[in-house]
């Protein structure tokens, strides 16, 4: 193997500024809605103003006559759109399976019932408003109390949880609720579709160019090679751009229908209707312990709402299975149907709401046991994954707790409620654990060594704003031994070698082996070219004697500096570039040999000012073990961002569906309260980089989601410590504390 021998010089693990930063701050990064084409038309969907019923009459006459309007399209005239076949490989799947306008039934507020097309965005908006729709309206069901509408399924079971629970004297039976949350990405969902008579080029806001292509070709009923999806930069996704939403199909269908490029940019309000959300969850947790704090049973029965047609499951029991040592565990799940748009993944799906429930419950249990909450967790630390009965690949949760406790100063905590004060404020200290899956998607990449002395890596993944461009440049730089400036990264195009979905925090881990292999292949070919080019310095040398070190081609028995720069090999052979391909396998297939997760711990301080009922998060220390952190600068930023989002989740965020019409009432950024800069507390992030190379040679796992897992519980636990009030339904509101 080539590349850097001197590890202190390695770009891996070095604080690295984003290589795409200058493009972004100068406005030169071209986002989806920045794409414009000659003759392009604007489309604006007409959203239904009922949440349940059907379209009785669609009157488009006035709208069609308006200035600049090219037409109003709906079920009768948009052309045939198809469904996506079931897929469990995360490479051709959608969350909302019904193609737009498939029937006249309305199942959620804001469901698209027509789309207006005009020369300008303003004209299309006006025309969309002028479409008159008459509905047969039925009362919608957006009830927040969830009951099972589907069969209750057992997610996981070991021992006899009910029996152990019944027998226990120390136990807890509580229900925890997390509300519907809308992602509220800053870059709104948009689609710009160009059709040349055969091929669609779709500029999309997507966290998966490959998945998007594989879905859209089915929806449009064309061959995959006739659809190309491009997504070069994203203003975040948080899961809401993992699968295509109906506006993508509309833009493509209209481009085909009208033979003109079509642009659709959703409004903030539309993004609350038809671009996914985290569903409401209602989780009953029953746990029991012996007097020493050893867990004797856990029952985690959760429900989440989903749409009328799609079965979106929020996997709340994901962490419950393996997080604690406990002989008797039963986890069940069921869906509750609502007249609400289809839910989707939102940062840390499953684990985030799930850990709010279980890590709150553990805190409650610790209080019952009069035990420090960390101590309770240490007592119940498992030695292996008791769900799958396999060893952990790398579990350093105890170190996370211990490091966090030390950095935070946990030893000074007085468990008595409301007992800790500072500057006239009551302090609350709480903690919780965090966990997230560590897996790999299959991935392919190519590496090119080019005759200008630079290298390039290409793969059909995308940078959703997390720093994928930079991380891949670092990996390439390491593998070909060139400086970062000489490493180009090409992403965001479905015609590139299939790359992973930006979901599950798996892009980096998935791509490292593929890029390493591609680089190795390219270097092999380079060395072969070096010995096969007549007249070149190493012509005729046995390739086995050749080596490559930091851009230099040389013989093994000579120093690198005695060799020649690799571009000389290309020049003498008259090669523009030398290419290597590499791939890595998904870790989902087959029975796993080890249980692979990342772990972390949050320590939270809240301040409570009872005289004015003011609660603020004042300090958070988060310790994460996600293996090797390739770029600590971007890595810290991921965790800090997740913590801020977690403050929003714990204290502010919820999408409020109004019961009579079923509309989300707070569908704008003034009424949907997110954490703002002034809410950002003193943040401290520590990475424990325990070595484990199960996923790749650097031992890097994902960090995009874990920072949010457990945080809401840590805040709720801190709130309890400050106020004595246990909040089991998020968000924690002023009125909950004003008693």
């Amino acid at each position: 193997m080539p590349a850097t021998k001197d590890k202190s010089n390695s770009p891996i693990g070095r604080e690295t500024k984003r290589i795409d930063g200058p493009l972004k701050v100068t406005g030169n990064a071209i986002y989806t809605s920045d794409h414009n084409f000659p003759g392009m038309l604007y489309a604006v969907p007409v959203g239904s103003t009922i949440a349940n019923g059907s379209i009785a009459k669609l009157d488009t006459k006035d709208a069609e006559k308006m200035p600049g309007v090219k037409g109003v399209f709906h079920r009768a005239n948009i052309g045939k759109l198809f469904r996506v076949a079931p897929n469990s490989d995360y490479n051709a799947f959608s969350d909302e399976d019904r193609p737009p306008f498939e029937d006249d039934v309305v199942r959620y507020y804001g469901q698209y019932v027509a789309v207006a097309v005009a020369d300008t965005f303003e004209q299309a908006t006006a025309a969309a408003e002028a479409v008159k729709v008459t509905y047969n309206e039925k009362k919608p069901n957006v009830d927040t109390y969830l009951t099972a509408d589907s069969k209750v399924k057992v997610d996981s079971e070991r021992g006899d949880a009910q029996k152990a629970f019944d027998a226990a004297s120390i136990k807890l039976d509580e229900t925890y609720v997390t509300p519907a949350e809308t992602h509220n990405v800053i870059e709104l969902h948009s689609s710009v579709a160009v059709y040349d008579g055969t091929t669609f080029t779709l500029y999309e806001t997507t966290q998966g160019v490959m998945n998007h292509r594989n879905v859209l070709c089915q929806v449009l009923g064309v061959e995959p090679e006739h659809v190309k999806v491009i997504s070069k930069f994203l203003g975040s996704g948080f899961g809401s751009k993992i699968t295509p939403w109906p506006q993508s199909a509309l833009a493509a269908a209209l481009a085909r229908k009208l033979g003109k490029p079509i642009k659709i940019v959703l409004s903030r309000k539309m993004a609350f209707h038809a671009a996914g959300h985290r569903p409401r969850t209602q989780q009953r947790v029953r746990i029991s312990a012996d007097a020493g704090g050893k867990l004797t049973s856990i029952q985690h029965d959760y429900l989440n709402h989903t749409s009328i047609l799609d079965d979106y499951k929020e996997n709340c029991g994901e962490c419950t299975k393996y997080f604690y040592s406990c002989p008797n565990v039963r986890i069940t799940t069921a869906l509750s149907r609502r007249n609400i748009g289809t839910p989707t993944s939102m940062r840390g799906p499953g684990a985030v709401p799930g850990l709010f429930a279980t890590e709150s419950a553990l805190d409650e249990l610790a209080i019952k046991l009069k035990m420090d909450p960390i101590q309770l967790r240490l007592i119940n630390e498992p030695e292996k994954d008791e769900d799958l009965n396999i060893p952990f690949a790398s579990r350093n949760l105890v170190d996370c707790y211990k490091t966090g406790a030390e950095k935070f100063g946990w030893a000074k905590r007085d468990p008595k409620i409301g007992s800790m004060k500072r500057d006239g404020l009551t302090l609350g200290w709480g903690m919780a654990g965090a966990g997230w899956i560590a897996e790999r998607f299959s991935a392919e990449a190519t590496v090119e060594l080019r005759n200008d002395g630079t290298a390039k890596v290409s793969t059909g993944t995308q940078d959703i704003g997390t720093g994928t461009y930079t991380v891949l440049a670092q990996v390439l730089a390491d593998k070909v031994g060139l400086s970062l400036e000489k490493c180009e990264v090409v992403l965001g195009d479905s015609s590139l070698p299939p790359g992973p979905l930006s979901g599950g925090s798996m892009v980096t881990a998935s791509l490292i082996p593929a890029v390493a292999k591609a680089a190795q292949k390219a270097i092999g070919t380079l060395l072969s070219a070096a010995v096969k080019t007549p007249g070149a310095k190493y012509f005729g040398v046995d390739q086995k004697e050749m080596d490559y070190t930091e851009g230099m081609v040389h013989k093994k028995d000579e120093s690198a500096s005695a060799g020649i720069p690799f571009q000389q090999v290309l020049d003498s052979g008259n090669f523009k570039f030398i290419l290597g391909k590499g791939s890595s396998e998904s870790t989902f297939a087959g029975k796993p040999e080890s249980s692979k997760h990342s772990y972390g711990a949050h320590f939270v301080e809240v301040t409570w000012q009872e005289e004015i009922a003011r609660l603020r998060v004042s300090r958070v220390v988060t310790v994460i073990d996600a293996g090797k952190i390739i770029n600590p600068k971007a890595g810290r930023n991921q965790i800090e961002g997740a913590v801020v989002m977690g403050i929003g989740m714990a204290l502010f965020e919820h999408t409020n569906y109004e019961p009579t019409k079923g509309a989300p009432l707070n569908s704008n950024l003034a009424d949907y309260i997110l954490a703002v800069n002034a809410d950002v507390p003193d943040l401290e992030v520590h990475f424990l980089e325990f070595e484990n190379k199960d996923l790749n040679e650097y031992g890097a796992r994902g960090i995009g989601e874990i920072g949010l897992a457990g945080l809401a519980a840590a805040i709720a636990n801190a709130v309890h410590h400050a106020t004595g009030i246990r909040i089991r339904e998020l968000p924690i509101k002023i009125e909950d504390l004003l008693v």
Binding site: T49, E122, T125, A126, E129, E611, I612, A613, R614, R616, L651, F652, N656, E658, P659, T660, K661, A663, L665, N666, A670, D671, I673, L674, A675, V676, N677, A678, D679, K733, I734, E735, L738
Partner: protein
């Protein structure tokens, strides 16, 4: 949003002339002044306001803050919220006004928002802002879904069976405590209105929010100096730390002599259908010792007539704590 004409005006009387043909100066006016546009354009995009004509007043010479002979200030209607908040004389002599302004909206919005526009900003009631719902304020007689519906942020004082919408302004609350005067130029000439009389209660006509008639242009807001020795505080309570309307706020101005409150001005925001001055609380407090028990008593008085709705009962206690804490802050 519908098409509209955009007109400039040459001077103040031209502005008055151009808008005097409007059928109303209240909700649904067909001719509207536009200042910073941060309320109006937002509502036009939502089709809640549907004027045919906008008269742009941004070039009128109403962008000065002058000190008056008595040490007060005369604020031009077009003075931006950020300029007013950061004006050295305002900061030193009317800190309550500066604090109220700076607690509102965001820096970008404050740079656009004007004094006149802020006085006339509309409620954030979600039903008012969504034409899919009935709303007595937007369409008189259509009903009020907020009374049975989502009313967490809505009013508990000054409500009626027709409307419970909160007046969301922070600035106006401070101006209430400062007993400001609104100077209006209308087709019939100039007139001055005390701020407490400027805003109207919803009663059975929630679409009529103030005394303005077609053509009426707010030209200035005049504020008298605070009596020597007065101390003031603006305290705003809300879910998050910034960039959110008040759930409850209080502007208090108090003078304490020999441990006793000799004069108090108490106004509340986020709880009333108009910026809410509480004469009852002021009366309860004057002459009494400046201590926490009396502050709380005054706060109880201020909320005595509060009428909660299904989701905002907590605001009664929150507003009480807000008022008494503001008084405590102002006197310690």
């Amino acid at each position: 949003m519908k098409l509209f004409a955009f007109e400039k005006c040459s001077d103040i009387s031209d502005a008055v002339k151009k808008t005097s043909a409007s059928d109303t100066a209240q909700q649904g006016a067909n001719i509207r002044f536009v200042a910073g546009g941060t309320t109006l354009l937002d509502l036009m995009k939502l089709s809640v306001e549907t004027p045919d004509t906008l008269v742009d007043i941004n070039r009128l010479p109403l962008d000065k803050i002058e000190t008056t002979r008595d040490g007060g200030i005369k604020i031009g209607a077009l003075v931006r919220n950020s300029d007013l908040a950061n004006h050295p004389y305002v900061k030193s002599h009317f800190p309550v006004l500066s604090e109220a302004l700076l607690s509102g909206a965001s820096a970008q919005l404050r740079n656009m928002a004007t004094t006149g526009g802020n006085l006339l900003q509309k409620t954030r009631c979600v039903y008012f802002r969504d034409t899919a719902y009935p709303c007595n304020k937007r369409e008189p007689g259509s009903g009020c879904p907020a009374i049975e519906g989502d009313n967490r942020t809505l009013a508990i004082l000054g409500t009626s069976d027709s409307c419970i919408a909160t007046n969301p302004s922070d600035m106006s609350v401070a101006l209430m405590a400062l007993e400001a005067t609104i100077v209006i130029k209308g087709p019939g000439g100039d007139r001055e209105v005390a701020i407490n009389d400027f805003f109207l209660l919803p009663g059975s006509t929630p679409h009529i929010e103030n005394v303005l008639k077609p053509g009426d242009l707010i030209t200035h807001v005049v504020v008298k100096p605070m009596p020597a020795g007065s101390r003031s505080v603006y305290l705003k309570l809300r879910d998050r730390a910034s960039y959110e309307f008040a759930l409850a706020s209080a502007a208090v101005i108090v003078q304490v002599e020999n441990g006793k409150v000799s004069r108090a001005r108490i106004a509340m925001g986020g709880v009333g259908t108009k910026p809410w001055r509480s004469l009852e609380a002021e009366k309860a407090l004057s002459g009494s010792a400046a201590n926490e028990a009396n502050f709380r008593k005054a706060a109880e008085e201020a909320l005595r007539n509060a009428k909660p709705q299904s989701h905002n009962k907590f605001k009664i206690e929150l507003a009480k704590r807000c008022v008494s804490h503001a008084l405590k802050m102002a006197t310690t």
